[in-house]
């Protein structure tokens, strides 16, 4: 006897649903428990970021980039200032570069901690989520110490930083790293090798290499599918070429390469690599140097355009800036890594059970603020 096909039912998950990580509506066609088609509807958080940027000056864009990906604001700032500095041909000094890398990597840890914690929460593990948030809080404290803000920083400026790091920042960061490294092992122990989580995530939502590449998926999601591609290594910006670190790639330890477990585990491995980078950056940070040294008096880039990409915790973030020589951008386009990650949802999510769809969505680590912009 073949499979009995029942009547399909259309079910909306979201926009107000805790598992959709924001205001996202997933329209799923279900046949019983099996999902046959997923259509993500987004735009609930659309704030006209790109159009709005055509009305504000270049320095005023930075607070708006914060609000795109609110879980990794530092990295969003970083991408924008790297693009602007390339367009204006500004070279910032060593101290600024080191501080920027430190901040971006701390932000990567914070973002990945939230992602891994929430992934556990989606699958029913509550304790690791609290542990992850507790450690993330320490990182936010470090940011607060530096620039006063805990979530939306406006810290990196074109040609420098808003503030120098405070006295004792380096020491407290070392202290945090010493405290944090055993905690990563703890998080991995309780979460990654837990039988329940492995059963729920291994072999689920497999994203093969070719699918990931053809959909333009980047970041940890791409690396989990077995592609060794990290802009910090393959197309180094800032001073990433000086640091020793590995690019963790999904190996399919518990199941197939590119399954939910791999996507989750790659992030834990990346946290360790970020810790390594921060230690090196702090050790080689020059003691003196003015963070306002290369701030331009007027932010007025020459006529021209630039496309520059950086590696945020979610992947390849690109800024396309078209300048007409005025202090206001003529056009600003952002390539969002989470958008492409969401677009692959139907391809890898169809055919799985309803509860697995939420696991797949959680493992993709999307941030709706960045998708809708």
């Amino acid at each position: 006897m073949g499979i009995v096909r029942g009547e399909e039912m259309v079910l909306n998950i979201g926009p107000q649903h805790p598992a959709t990580h924001g205001v996202l509506r997933l329209q799923v066609k279900t046949d019983g428990e099996v999902v046959s088609q997923i259509t993500p509807y987004m735009g609930y958080l659309h704030r006209c970021f790109e159009k709005h940027c055509e009305n504000v000056t270049y320095e005023q864009v930075i607070p708006f980039t914060d609000r795109c990906d609110y879980l990794s604001s530092m990295s969003m700032n970083f991408g924008y200032v790297v693009a602007m500095e390339e367009l204006m041909d500004i070279k910032v000094n060593e101290r600024v570069e080191h501080i920027r890398v430190t901040m971006a990597e701390l932000q990567r840890i914070a973002s990945h901690l939230l992602c891994t914690g929430v992934f556990g929460l989606d699958l029913g593990a509550f304790t690791p989520f609290l542990w992850a948030l507790r450690d993330r809080e320490r990182i936010l404290d470090l940011f607060e110490l530096t620039c006063g803000a805990r979530l939306l920083y406006n810290y990196m400026w074109v040609g420098g930083l808003s503030h120098d790091i405070p006295n004792g920042f380096v020491e407290s960061t070392y202290e945090f790293l010493d405290y944090f490294e055993p905690k990563v092992d703890e998080l991995e122990n309780i979460l990654a090798h837990n039988k329940i989580l492995v059963e729920r995530s291994a072999d689920i939502g497999v994203m093969p290499k070719d699918v990931a590449i053809s959909y333009g998926v980047t970041g940890p999601n791409l690396r989990a599918s077995g592609v060794n591609w990290d802009l910090r290594k393959n197309d180094p910006y800032s001073i990433y070429d000086r640091f020793e670190f590995n690019v963790p790639v999904g190996e399919g330890i518990k199941g197939t390469v590119g399954d939910c477990w791999d996507r989750f585990y790659v992030r834990i491995l990346e946290i360790r690599e970020s810790v390594k980078i921060i230690r090196q950056a702090l050790a080689s940070m020059p003691k003196d140097g003015d963070v306002h040294q290369s701030l331009p008096k007027k932010l007025r880039p020459p006529k021209g355009s630039i496309y520059s990409r950086t590696e945020t915790p979610r992947g390849d973030l690109g800024y396309y800036i078209e300048s007409d020589g005025s202090p206001i951008p003529y056009r600003l386009k952002m390539r969002s890594p989470a958008f492409t990650a969401l677009s692959v949802m139907d391809e890898i999510g169809a055919g799985w059970l309803l509860s697995d769809v939420l696991a797949i969505l959680g493992s993709l680590d999307i941030v709706l603020g960045e998708i809708d912009r």
């Binding site: 404290d141 006295n167 309780i190 039988k195 963070v291």
Partner: protein, 193 residues
Amino acid sequence: MVKYFADIYNSTTAILSGMYLTINHLFRAKKGIATLQYPEERWPRPERTIGFEHGSYNVIRSRLHVDIDDCIGCLKCERACPVDCIKIETEKSPNRGEDIKDINHIGITSNSTKKALVVTRFDIDMSECCYCNLCTYPCPEECIFMTGGPNESRHSIDYEFSEPERTDLIYHFSKPGTKDGLQEMLNNREAEA
């Protein structure tokens, strides 16, 4: 068959190691406790010991405040604001740097700049503010700042402000009646002359 027993072994060890961790945490809870009973306890604010001389730079993000006696009405903060939550209107002062007693206008700022303008309106809508701090940097008189931080002596930190009405979040910093008072005074002067 092997898989059956391996599964049982794996599940048991996973559960046991998880339980070991959590029980361990239970007995060490006092040391690493992370929750604070918020209204009674608060997170300590980090000390703002900044490594370079910056005096005017405000590190904290809280409610904006303006020392209106120091404001020269240059509109730099209004232009810097990305969300246009600062609204300033100015009138020309009859004489540069002159004190106008009728409307409580002080002609010279604490940085001894002579004011050429009278600020008749200085409104900040804190419900629109995005706390980006961009308005505080360009101020030549350092009169707009976020409360707390290096200005703690002048204004203690205020980040827990809430109001029942949205309009209550619009803060008026200019002295009330400045516009009418100035007009009246100019009319009087004209009549005298």
